[in-house]
Subunit: 332 residues, 2 copies
């Protein structure tokens, strides 16, 4: 017995903003799982900003996606069949073979998740890679101390929303930037940030107003103008966790770097880039801390859900346009 | 009995490159040292790039110089008179009241130096603040590991020459940039760097050629185009010690920042600014290590000496133009 699997391939490498024609729906027939394999019916798939870089033909920390091959990314599904019985049929699992309705993969690549602790798709967001990214970035990379003043860009997104709330849970004053009045309200009223602003009105001026005494930590999801604004606002011995630069991912011309980078010397700043795959050893601490804050209601989350595999490219394009509040997910 | 002291005052805040008319020679009469005071006949004074920032009227980590007041900076002299006898007449001392022929200062601000271990002016260079800056920057801020590949800009200068030689003494491959063929030859042939190039021919291309496999550490004395070139050449997990940015000190327009700063994320780079006054606790280790390498001939140094207080402004202007090889000093 075989299953018909619909999946999204990369049709062309996007130039600038991805277009629907850069993606292609394909169908393949999958055989029954062979030795050591598991067949998973995917129910949720993640679209994440880092995927944009993988669509370019440049060497980076993860291999490029290949033309006419399926895209990849985090996904949650249920086990349909497992050759050696190591995973029960119906078990929810997390794996990296998203952008398709079924995944036929080595059983060792399917990680069981506890669906009693949280809805399974939370393992693609607050309890998954974005949440861990926020936790490691704010805790380890920025070396946050309780009570400091923190600025988070992309504060309504999957990573920024968690980073800011972790800081709030640790008694910090937290300022967020986001890309619409609706997002600003979400960040301030629902997530409990001390202040939030719409960056379209100029990040430097608004950050200076929200944090007149400066900030100790900046968690950067946006890059560009935001990074320059943050450097200008940093207090002495401030730390910048460089997590992402979504403002640049679709850029076709390289914008100028932060003109005030030299201020890192008199202010004794540290700027530190990181990628989450270096830090998977922090998973147990992350689950303990963020899981606990989630149970206590100190961390909240929201999801923006797009229905159907056919709409996955639009979900991804919309993510880069900032159309999501919280984690952008595709329900399959 | 009083002494007549000639000294250099700040006449005007420089705009762009300092001009001779920004400085003024003045004469004051100094009384005999009062209680707790010492009178020093200065023999050597230091001109350092950081002094340019102090000539601006901007808040920074050291107070601005004041118009019509004497400039300040490191100096070496001999005790002429000491009210309480805590310092012997003739004792060489280091203090921060340069730019003048005599200093009348609290005895506690005059630090005796060991003139048997090295010529006294070495305590303004290789064994002084520039040497300590190099040591802390390469050892602590850049967290150098033995055997790594290191790039040092301003490699013929007082700080860069020591930073690179420390890295050489620790078994590293060291590449230096400097501003003239003569300096390049000095860096390569006399200091023993593995490679050196004239940055006027383009730092990015030449760095890529000298270090085809990239660099682990960049010690930045120059900023601007050099910083961008280094970010482009950094290996994964590379560290950048941001010590100075002499290319910007006379700038009247803010040049663009490093366009490739976003590469700090996939490369997991750390950029860290520092100022040496935070690190005076490292002095004993510095004296032990760099003093030892100096005795063993593993660290060499050169001085560019300008004669006479009247020429101190020209020495400073020339320093910012890169007219020195090694430490720029004024002999009084």
């Amino acid at each position: 017995m075989t299953v018909t699997c619909r999946q999204i391939h990369l049709a062309a490498r996007p130039v600038g903003e991805p277009k629907p024609s850069d993606f292609k729906l394909a169908e393949v027939e999958l055989p029954e799982p062979g030795e050591g394999e598991v067949l998973v019916r995917n129910r949720w798939m993640s679209v994440d900003p880092y995927m944009r870089g993988r669509m370019n033909d440049t060497q980076s920390y993860v291999p490029s996606f290949q033309i006419d091959q399926p895209l990849q990314g985090g996904a949650i599904g249920e086990v349909v069949a497992c050759a050696d019985g190591s995973l029960e049929v119906g078990q929810p699992v997390l794996h990296m073979h998203g952008w398709r309705e079924y995944a036929l993969i080595p059983a060792g690549q399917a990680q069981p998740v506890d669906a009693d602790a949280a809805p399974p798709q939370a393992y693609l967001g607050v309890l998954g890679m974005p949440g861990l990214t926020a936790y490691v970035g704010i805790t380890d990379i920025a070396a946050l101390k309780d009570g400091e003043t923190v600025f988070v860009s992309g504060a309504a997104g999957a990573v920024g929303s968690v980073a800011g709330q972790i800081a709030k849970a640790r008694g910090c004053t937290v300022i967020g930037s986001a890309g619409s009045p609706e997002k600003v309200a979400f960040v301030r009223d629902e997530l409990g940030f001390d202040a939030a602003f719409d960056y379209h009105d100029g990040p430097a001026e608004q950050l200076a107003e929200a944090a007149p005494d400066g900030v100790d930590v900046y968690f950067d999801n946006v890059g560009g103008e935001h990074l320059e604004a943050a450097i200008g606002a940093m207090r002495d011995f401030g730390r910048i966790a460089m997590c992402g630069a979504i403002s640049l991912y679709n850029a076709t011309e390289i914008p100028p770097g932060p003109r005030n980078i030299v201020m890192a010397i008199p202010k004794r700043l540290t700027l530190k880039g990181f990628i989450i795959s270096d830090h998977f050893d922090r998973m147990p601490d992350f689950v303990r801390d963020v899981g606990g804050w989630l149970r206590d209601g100190k961390i909240r989350y929201r999801e923006t859900v797009v229905e159907g595999l056919d709409n996955a490219p639009d979900a991804f394009i919309g993510l880069l346009r900032g159309e999501n509040i919280g984690k952008m997910l595709v329900k399959l």
